[in-house]
Symmetry: C5
Subunit: 348 residues, 5 copies
């Protein structure tokens, strides 16, 4: 988890990157398109990139890497971004949110991947007039390949519609990641469920706990997503075309479905925990029954054997012809009696 | 469960069927009626079907099978359906929802059946002017037979009222399925309750867990149904006659009753789980008591027997005339004393 | 519980009685009154009854028995009642609700009685101009005797005020039944609480569970009552005099108090369950301690006795003069040592 | 708890006292004041009291004792109080509430004291023009002494402001009682927490349960208090001066703090319950470990001793010179081996 | 915890300090600044301090220590602060709140620090025209050093903006404390989690409980913070410049993130508790298995040894040549049989 505390005390609007430390260069991808033309190039230098920006085209500037706040600051100054927005972009522990600054809107969200652990990489999408700027951590990247392909091949509506549709398409790609993660988690839950019903051990308990913890974490990420998208739908910014509302509502619907599933999974996990505990209690019961049956059967007869092992001079039974055999008879009667008793109690 | 993930990355509005794979032909049933006339025919070809559509009649086109997205697409183009709607129709993992696209409204919901497992088949009902188009998965079908019969026999109000009433009647038939499923689940719960009160075993625990899981799943389906219907009541579409509102409110009421019952069942199931656990703990207690009584009674007297089984040369008690009988007396006294003690403690 | 499923598939507005089967005649009681006059008669025939209806008086028609839907239908036609209302009246598994049909309003609710089990009988109160029609199941009846007496004796305000006040008085009588039931349940809870604190057994566990189940059922009945009454207060029908609002608010207040108490009882029951479980665990602990003390004390000394019961030719201790007494000494030392140890651990 | 049921069936507005039975005379205290003058006298007769009422002064009539409904009725008639209000005043099981009857407003609340048990005495405060009438149960009385003193000594603002401020001051005194009770409960919780962490026994369990029950009861009293005060703040009565709103908001704030604390205490109590249960389970574990260690160590060696206590004629070991000592060696090896094993498992 | 009860009975608006008793002098720090000038001095005397106040500058008066209510009162009179506000300032058990008194606004909140225990010191910030007065308990102080430094060095925006921005900066510093505390708690949780997964003991249980208790307490502090800030955002006071709203919204966002984290931690802690309990139950299971295996294996064979230790005269087996060896064979067969049985049951 990214550290939340290190920025403390700095004046608000201070750009402070709190993710993993990195030294590699930051890749900036510029894509420009309209219905007929398409241009795409990767840069490692901002001014280089900006010199390629052409008017009359929709621009998408994708910045991969947040570890150089000064780069974000430069872009921010060019596009007139509020310092608080820039602070949020590089401070990678944000709550998903949507904010409207009139000449631009910004949506901050998390890209999720699941690989036995929920990984969340922060993504900020800024939508200004005809331009989308996206800032992402480098590891969360390939979710956008699909959109790049669609742009290149002019597949779907994306080349025909404005920058707001592009922003929506990016967010849609992010939400799709959630579905992938959730499906993986669903498979994992089914696996653990089977394991535990078959017979629970310490390992499945820990796996169950880890999954539960990941769900708690995922839930923390996914609930504010809905608020974020709903704020976006309700916002009255002129940057989003009213005809795009239908797509945003669809997105909101997807997020609601994800939330439903996350809640369902939480319920399932607590059901599985109950099964684990009950199964354990049942096993304990079984162990105790074996102990009780073995002890109850042999302790009394061992006592009888003990009695006739005593060395008193005057023990008349010892001298009788059939004493030994009668004793065996009594002992067997006790054993059989107790066996019947336990059978009746359904302990066997 | 239908796969949620496979559609990921496709541009929004891409028709992607994610249900079970199928190859059979898709049946299209066309019913046309007004107060005096009635026409009904099954088709396996869309253009064939559409050639039979007559003006001045209310039309119900029922499509059974969603596994050929191109068919849905063709219908969508004819009736001017938004691509997102068409995507939702064939993507069978939708959350129940109602959407108003001005020239048509669409309600997506789940048909439920219970057969030791909650099965949900997706149903989409599109209401345009004088026309209802319903898309359903083939296995969820026979709930509509009743409506067909009513239409044929002109029973009830259905032939006298408009397309909106037909759409309502379809939804009402769907909601009725929920009641059937819930009643079956209620019976199952009573069964398990009895089993567990009588004496719990591993089998009832697993049954309880399965039922709980089905309830979690059912709950996920049924809560959004209410939102859906309430959105429909509140919607200001001109396609729904204000006089139909009373029927929709009735529907909303039914769904609320279903939700109440589902919640009640959840409470009952958790109550039964408590009983299971307590009963188990009680049994354990009983087992432990038997063990404790048997051990506590015989261990001390076995010790005494052991003492007089020792082979010391000088053990004066062994030589006395009545040593053996006195020992027996002491041992019996101990046994009886402990029995009284346990009786007093109410362990016996 | 009344069957919910049998009406399924029938067209909406079909009158379908789903309560207990009955064949007895249905009693219709007509009461007519104004401030000065009073008339009361029982009928078993509807037309007979209606022939007695006089203008200028407030009329209360009480129908006891819902098992003949055709009777309800007849009354419905005379008073112009909507088929959906009539369906609700005879379908005795309704959720409490209030509906405003302009020329009449209808309140459907449950009469509750508690007799080791919560029994709910459905009651529908229709208020039209100057007329109250109440439909009730025959077993829930005597709650209205008090109102009849008040009407006959012109006690309280009831004869001076309109039909809306009569409807309110009927509902008030119904809510009073809830208080009676709740008080009985409260007594029962106190009883079980004492039983369980004194010492829990299987019987109290089952009683606790049954009470919990009844509370779940009662809760399902009582929550929608509040919505119902609040809808009534908020409704803008001209049939309810604004001056009656104060009585309805009082009623709403009563229902809120009932809900508070039901929720409190639920909390209490879950507290009692906790006590039951902890008490049980404590008992188990005690049983285990007895077992452990007995076993731990006698098992080591039995071992020593066993050692000197061995038959080796060369066992020097056996030949010593005081071996036996020394052995006793060692064994007693062990026993006393362990007793002190357990005393210190507070296990005794 | 006061009986809720006895009023059942009486016409609404019937005055029915349902508290403890009493026969003592009812004390009526009249206080009249303005900024310059102050008059105070106790009466046991209503007309006597009313003859002392002077115009141009603010009047506070405090009635201690509700067991003579006819007295309340007389006052009600003089001040034109609605019968439903009077019914609420004497029916001492009300939910805290505020009602606005235009020419007067009434606030009904509970005075709380804690003395190992939460005691709630009902208080009704009626505010009419220049007059405050308070009805209280006799045991809840001394909370008002402070206000009397302030009035006599003209301390604080109370003599300078109107009747609404007096009503507020009374309510403030009531809310202060809650703080006292809550502080006592907080101390009690800390005590029990320590007891249980030190070592839990049956007594602390019962105390914990009783405290939990009292919290459930207190919670039922305190939640509606907030609604009551908020209704008062929002009410548009002319009897409350807008400048008093600031005091009411302060009161609302206090009640919110009480609610926060009650909820916090509930969380704490359930945390303590968890500790109790875990501590118990830990103890059980320890008991079982002792049993297991003792049994596991001595049962195998006792078996060996038993073997060489057998009386077979042909047992070569018995005849060897060192058999006995070798046997001892084996037995000690087993004992030491098992001790090491248990040490490694950290059971010792 | 500060005592809540001692102020009880005092007239509202009475200044009553209920924190720790102190006798030290109260430090008053005056900072005055505008974009160009800066003045800072510490005083121990109010009139001394006030004599330095200059017009045309933004003033920040920071009072460290609330134990002399008369000082607060004096300041209150000079700045025309309402007595209820002053009461809240010195009564250090307030719920965080924001209040608008037109000529000033006041925000009361808690400064949090975590040092194995959550410590909360009350802070009140009063914002009047061009002046911020902050009252704090002396131990919570150094969070403001950073702001002083920023003011001195004219870092960030603070010197350029008005008093409202200063008030915001103070509150932001307070919220930053929460992040520090939460991060420490997060580390602690991870530590305990590891401890408990590795192997739970009594110590970790108590630590877990203490952490849970601290979380309950922290939660009580942090939830009202959000309401407070939202009230501030929504307030229509002219003292807060609309352009500052963006900073307040950012603050609200931070508090929401803190709340999210607190809730997540609560979920984590309850998950850890579950693991603790399950791990314990697992251990118990293991202990019981060892006991059962040891007892079940040796009790039957000890019985056999006991039988042939009996002293009957006529025991034919004893006289046979190989009796002893056959008996050993039988005993070993039993032991091995049981070992295989337990192996199969996976108890070993």
């Amino acid at each position: 988890m990214a550290s939340v505390a290190e920025n403390i005390g700095a004046p608000p609007g201070t750009l402070f990157y709190n993710g993993e430390e990195r030294t590699d260069r930051i890749k900036i991808t510029l894509i420009e398109y309209n219905e007929s033309d398409f241009f795409e190039q990767e840069f490692y230098d901002l001014s280089d990139c900006l010199s390629h920006v052409k008017p009359n085209m929709i621009k998408w500037i994708n910045v991969e890497g947040l570890h150089k706040p000064e780069l974000v600051e430069k872009i921010g100054k060019i596009y007139n971004i509020h310092p608080l927005t820039m602070e949020d972009i590089v401070h990678v522990d944000q709550r998903p949110k949507f904010e409207d600054y009139e000449h631009y809107v910004v949506a901050i969200m998390k890209m999720i991947s699941y690989d036995n652990k929920v990984n969340a990489e922060q993504l900020a999408v800024i939508l200004c007039e005809n331009t989308v700027i996206s800032f992402q951590e480098p590891d969360g990247g390939d979710a956008f390949d699909i959109i790049r392909t669609r742009l290149r091949q002019s597949k779907g509506r994306v080349r025909k519609l404005g920058a707001d549709y592009l922003a929506y398409a990016l967010m849609d790609a992010v939400v799709d990641c959630y579905f992938t993660a959730i499906e993986k988690i669903g498979d994992k839950i089914e696996e653990i469920e089977e394991d535990i019903i078959d017979g629970s051990d310490k390992k499945s308990l820990l796996e169950l706990y880890h999954l539960k913890r990941e769900m708690i974490y995922l839930r923390k990420q996914v609930w504010p997503m809905r608020d974020m998208i709903n704020n976006m739908v309700r916002s009255e910014t002129i940057l989003i075309n009213p005809t795009s509302d239908i797509y945003l509502r669809d997105l909101s619907d997807h997020v609601t479905r994800i939330i439903d599933t996350v809640e369902t999974y939480r319920d399932l996990l607590s059901g599985i925990m109950d099964i684990y505990l009950s199964t354990n209690a049942n096993k304990m019961n079984e162990v105790m029954k074996v102990l009780t049956i073995m002890s109850s059967i042999f302790i009394p007869v061992t006592f009888i054997a003990g009695v006739y092992g005593m060395n008193f001079d005057n023990m008349p039974e010892l001298r009788t012809q059939n004493g030994y055999f009668i004793t065996w008879g009594i002992m067997l009667a006790i054993i059989i009696g107790l066996l019947i008793y336990f059978k009746r109690k359904k302990w066997m």
